[in-house]
Structures are given as structure tokens and as C-alpha cells.
């Protein structure tokens, strides 16, 4: 396949568990070298989608291609080229990070150097500590390291920083950015808006198994082409007005207020952020 073919191509993906349909017709194309974010609340179908792409689950219907393979076939050639960070994955209690990485490296035809991966994941000080003595954050870094040791071209990160303190999150973000700089393709799920905004080239907002919006985070935020004007009226109520033409609206509002001899308290003009779009789209109607 050519290098310009998408890394992931999903069309009309559906997954049903008995009566419950977790994924209800998803279409995604992830380009090579892109960081793609699946953003949505818990239970939106993010993990189900990713686990179908990783080859863990069979889909009910739809077309799925990952690096040109159908992941349901579980081809060993595909698994050699992807790295998976699961939402929660365990490891033998009595193994050290260095031993685990050496063992994992042996599964792959062209692994990265174990020492290099230890350094990249920030695990050098704990390299010879048994995993049962590692902290939660250190174990998460080991998850990253194990996913990277095979030098995959495509990396799946399912909620990679859930439970991290702010400093650890920043460190994880740096790692993800450095992977992107190496030309890796990354599919990331998260329910943190700032994470999607900080890392993803493009984001799909997903809820109840459907994609509500898709695009670069900046465009999703402001691409709706409207402004939000907020002020407190004479009755003390907070009023929000949305408009495509903030200039005219402000002129009207301020003109009326001045004519009445009032002030528009707490007046602000803003453009919707990713968070606004997200909250608007995922709000329970």
C-alpha cells in the first residue's frame, strides 16, 4: 500500500452487545503521521471503537482498515506494526521494567533499544525495580514503554493520562508530542478537553456511539463562526446572545443601554472554545 493511504479507515462501523448498540455508525479516516483524538464522555463508545481497531473485538457491521489490514483477522504482521496502551493493563508482579521490555522487544522484528525506551518513558531510575513496587504513574509509563518498544508506526492510546497528576500529564503529553515528531500515527481517546486540544491534529467528538463533530480542535471551537456575547441585564439576569456579527449586536446593545442610562454589567464577547462545542454537543437534551 502507498504511504499516502490513510493509517485508519473506518466506514459505517457498528457494534451491538445484545440489545445495546454501543457504536452506531462511525466514519473516521486517520491520516498517516496524524494525532487523532476521540473525545467523549464515559460510555460514549470510544473504547469499543478503539478495541475493534486493535483487534480485540469483532464488529457487528461496517468497513474497517488499519494499515491496510482488517483487524478482525488478527494478522501477526499488523500486530508487529501497532503499539497499544490499554485503558488498564497489568503486568507480572515480579518482573522489572527492563526485563519486561527485553521480553516484549523479542516479539518484534525491529525493536527499539530497551535503554532508549526506558529513557523515553522516564523509567531509568526504576528500571530494575519489581513492578509490584512501582507507583501508578510509573506503571502507566511502563504501559507506554511496552507499547513503544516494538517501534510501531501506529499507536493506540486509550485514556492515557486518566488518574495522572498535572505534572505527570504534562510529561505524558511531551512523550506523545515526541512520538508525533518521529512521524508516528496516534489514535488517542480521552475525556479531557484540554488533552484533545493540546495534542490532537483532529478531533472527533463522540457520544452515544455517534460522531457529533469532527475536525481540528481550533476549527471545531471557532469554526461555528459565531460569537457569544454575555452580559447582566437590569434585572440581574445573565443573558447570552449568539451572533455571527458581533459588531452590529454590540452596537445595538450598547446603544440601547446608553439610551436607557444603564450599564451592561459583566459584558464579554467570546468565541466558543472546544469546551463550549463539546458541552453543547454532548449536553443531554
Amino acid at each position: 500500500m502507498s504511504d499516502t493511504a490513510p493509517a485508519i479507515d473506518v466506514c459505517g462501523l457498528r457494534k451491538r452487545y445484545g440489545e445495546y448498540e454501543a457504536v452506531r455508525g462511525i466514519d473516521i479516516t486517520v491520516r498517516r503521521g496524524e494525532v487523532f483524538g476521540l473525545l467523549g464522555p464515559n460510555g460514549a463508545g470510544k473504547t469499543t471503537t478503539v478495541e475493534i481497531l486493535e483487534g480485540y473485538r469483532a464488529r457487528t457491521s461496517g468497513e474497517v482498515s488499519v494499515l491496510g489490514y482488517d483487524p478482525a483477522d488478527r494478522a501477526i504482521e499488523l500486530r508487529r506494526r501497532i503499539g497499544i496502551v490499554l485503558q488498564s493493563g497489568g503486568i507480572y508482579g515480579h518482573i522489572t521494567p527492563r526485563e519486561a521490555l527485553r521480553h516484549w522487544a523479542s516479539f518484534y522484528p525491529h525493536p527499539r533499544s530497551v535503554e532508549e525506551v526506558l529513557a523515553l518513558a522516564g523509567l531509568q531510575p526504576q528500571a530494575d525495580t519489581r513492578s509490584r513496587r512501582l507507583s501508578g504513574g510509573q506503571l502507566r509509563r511502563l504501559d507506554f514503554a511496552l507499547a513503544l518498544v516494538g517501534d510501531p508506526e501506529l499507536i493506540f492510546l486509550d485514556e492515557p493520562t486518566t488518574g495522572f497528576d498535572p505534572e505527570a500529564r504534562r510529561a505524558a503529553w511531551e512523550t506523545i508530542r515526541s512520538l508525533r515528531a518521529l512521524g508516528k500515527t496516534i489514535l488517542l481517546t480521552t475525556h479531557y478537553l484540554d488533552e484533545a486540544q493540546a495534542l490532537a491534529d483532529r478531533v472527533a467528538i463522540i457520544k452515544e456511539g455517534r460522531i457529533l463533530a469532527i475536525g481540528p480542535p481550533r476549527e471545531l471551537g471557532v469554526g461555528a463562526a459565531h460569537y457569544r456575547v454575555v452580559y447582566r441585564n437590569a434585572g440581574g439576569e445573565l443573558v447570552e446572545r449568539q451572533t455571527d456579527d458581533a459588531t452590529t449586536l454590540l452596537h445595538e446593545l450598547t446603544g440601547e443601554a446608553l439610551a436607557r442610562g444603564e450599564r451592561l454589567e459583566e459584558l464579554s464577547v467570546g468565541r466558543p472554545t472546544l469546551e463550549d462545542v463539546y458541552l453543547e454537543l454532548t449536553a443531554d437534551a
Binding site: 480485540y56 501477526i76 497489568g90 508482579g93 516484549w104 516479539f107 518484534y108 516494538g150
Partner: protein
Amino acid sequence: MPDALGATNPVALSWRQYRLERQMFWRNPSAAFFNFLLPLLFLAGGGAILSGDQHQLNKLIPAIAAMSIMATTFTALAYNVVFLRERGVLKRIRGTPLPTRSYFAGVAANAVTNAALQIAIVVLAGRVLFGIGWPQHVLELLVFVVVGVVCFAALGVAFAHVIPNFESTPAYVNAVFLPVLFISFYVFDSSSAPGFLRSIADALPLKPLIEGLSGAIVGGSDLGGNLDALAVIALWGVFGLFFAIRGFSWEQSRT
């Protein structure tokens, strides 16, 4: 370190997995205890009580040998599979290019090694400490150990599917292991056991295994005379393999 020469060859990967399993086994003190020390303590305790009674010692050694096989395969694998499944280790391995067969070859070879080591220790202890001769029928010993290991290993993996979480594993395993052990030991030892207990023990795989090992180690019926016992173990093995494969789950159930 992985090297260029056949680094991802399935046989080489099985061998690496086997070595890792051995390493992890010895690093886990409680597993090493239950697998090695417990049967040896039984042997020492029973041997001390029965000291001088050669007839009883002749029964003790094969019984402990059979129990060792059950402990190193059925009990150990049920524990391991549940632990690795609930901790997410199996799921993680499933996402790598390690071939499934290589993984299970390594895990199974680990259980076989433990069973073989145990049998060697028990036979040696019988020879050195309790004046029992070297095994009478080596072929019979080999056949019963192999069939016994396959049977109890498969049953252990199959039984793991029934156990809902790691915390309840000891309860589930002991609820099977201890009654089977007591009924089988009792019926094997006592000629006056009630008929219904005898029928139960004969239908379960442990007592046939004790009989086969008894014939092989201390003499008595040879392989030809114990074919019915072998058939019972083999049937349980087929049953175990069927459910071990059919019900296998790589991850925690999400309910």
C-alpha cells in the same frame, strides 16, 4: 536481548516465554511454597507417622505423587489464569505479535516442568527415605504422568473460566481440590470405604491417577492392568481441553 537470528521465530518465542514463566515462578514465594513445599511437608509428615509400616508407605508415595501433579497443574494454572486475566496481563499479551501458541507452549511447559520436578522429588524421597524401590514400570510412570498432567492442566484452565475474580480463587480452587483429595486418598487407602464414595472416587480423575502411579512406582498392576484408570483420566482430559479452549477469555468480564 533480541537478536537478528530468528528473534521472532515461534519456537524461539515459546522458549523465551518458558524461561520468563520459570523466572516469575521462582520469584513468587507463595507459588513456590504451594507447589513444592506443601507436598513435601505432606510427605515428611505422613512418612514420620507411618514410619516402619512399609505397606502404608507404599500407599503414601503414589498418593503424594498424584497430589503433586494436581497441585502443580490444576491448582497452579487455575490461579495463574485468573490472576493474569483479572490483572489484564493476558489482554496486553493478546495485543502483541507473540503467537498465541508460543505463549501457551511456554505456560504449559512451565507447569510440566513443575510436575516433573515434583515427581522426581517424591520418587527420590521414596527411594532414599522410605525404602521404596526405583519405579517398577517406567513406561507406565511416563504415560500416567503425561496423561495426568495434560488432564489436570486442561481442567485447571477450564476451571479458571468459572472463577469470577482473583479474590475468590482460593475458595473456588479449594472447594474442588480438598474434597477430591480427601475422597481419593480415603478410598485409595481404605478397603472398607462405603460403596458410593468408592464410585465417586473411581469416576474422578485423581484416584485413577494414584492407582496408575502406584502400579508404576511400587509395583502391582502394570500399564495393561490399569487401562480403565487411564481411560477415566483421558476422558476428563478431553472434557477439560474442550472447555479450556471453548470458554477461554483473554480479559476480565465487563459485567
